[in-house]
Amino acid sequence: MQLDAADRQLIDSYQRGLPVCERPYQAMAQTLGLTEDEVIERLSALKAQQVLSRIGPVFEHSQAGASLLAAVAAPPEKMDRVATQINLAPGVNHNYAREHTYNLWFVMTAPDEHTLDERLDELERKLRLPMLRLPMIKGYHIDLGFPIDWEALP
């Protein structure tokens, strides 16, 4: 993915701290030495190319409801079917296949803790697989982005 210096600077500068004011893109433009239109055009293009997955708020699930990381060890021949059942369960918002005995890792969300437990219990019954429930006990670094090493990228 070839990006010019202004695109790189845009990404480097706003993995957090995008200004929340009346004219956010104008405020960014002033910082970056671009015009407001250029900022909007670049952001739109980067989003269209899927270089940016989102431009806006990242919500804290634990403050807006309840969520929990869980994993199951699906037998390899049943993995597709189990993955589909997980994806269809209400509240599941991430599901990753990973190379391990515990091969399906997903995040279950719900409006509150009680509903969360009910959803996990129901999914566990449906899957007929023991579920590893891994609530966060403590966050040492919660997804705030990380510096992109542009030179190292292919």
């Binding site: 993995q15 104008q26 407001e36 270089v51 806006g56 309840a66 599941v92 391990h100």
Partner: protein
């Protein structure tokens, strides 16, 4: 965990609507608040004020241009997991979380005998070697307090959606 339930109940219906209207992103127009206001039937000033309040209360963790690391070339996503001595994890977890290449770092419970790892650190790389180098730097920080680790590479993203907040009919 009951405090998080309480906080979610403190969100008004208008806040929930604003979350749903912005979870895929802010409108890319000069005045995004007016655009959101016309969708939600609120004055732009109220939209901005509610947004700022959710930022202040921590419901909004950050406002960002969020890169798609895979698209940028970070093809390897390694969830590194570590078995760290309980009496050392508080201090060492902080230090691992401070490593610049660690994007998430959490303490989670063990489930013995099935799962012995209590520290999770997410690492991205352009190759498996790069992820392993970075895992080596985490191992250096943990030293003797760590009695085992492994790396779970992601082989497929089967689902990835934003936060969904629909109280009655949550279809995830």
């Amino acid at each position: 965990m009951s405090t998080s339930t309480l906080k979610s109940e403190l969100l008004s219906d208008q806040d929930r609507e604003l979350i749903m209207a912005t979870q895929a992103g802010l409108p890319l127009v000069s005045d995004p608040w007016t655009e959101l206001g016309s969708q939600l039937g609120m004055p732009a000033s109220e939209v901005l004020e509610r947004f700022q309040k959710m930022q202040a209360s921590g419901v909004i963790r950050r406002v960002a241009a969020v890169p798609n690391h895979y698209k940028l070339g970070y093809r390897f996503n390694g969830m590194t997991v570590w078995d760290v001595a309980d009496d050392a994890i508080a201090e060492l977890g902080e230090r691992v979380g401070e490593l610049p290449f660690v994007s998430h770092c959490y303490r989670r419970p063990r489930h013995l005998p099935y799962w012995s790892y209590n520290l999770f650190a997410m690492v991205h790389g352009t190759s498996g070697d790069e992820v392993e180098d970075k895992a080596g730097r985490i191992a250096d920080v943990l030293g003797d307090a760590c009695s085992g680790h492994t790396i779970l590479y992601s082989s497929a993203i089967l689902k990835k959606t934003g936060l969904r907040l629909r109280k009655q009919k949550d279809n995830g």
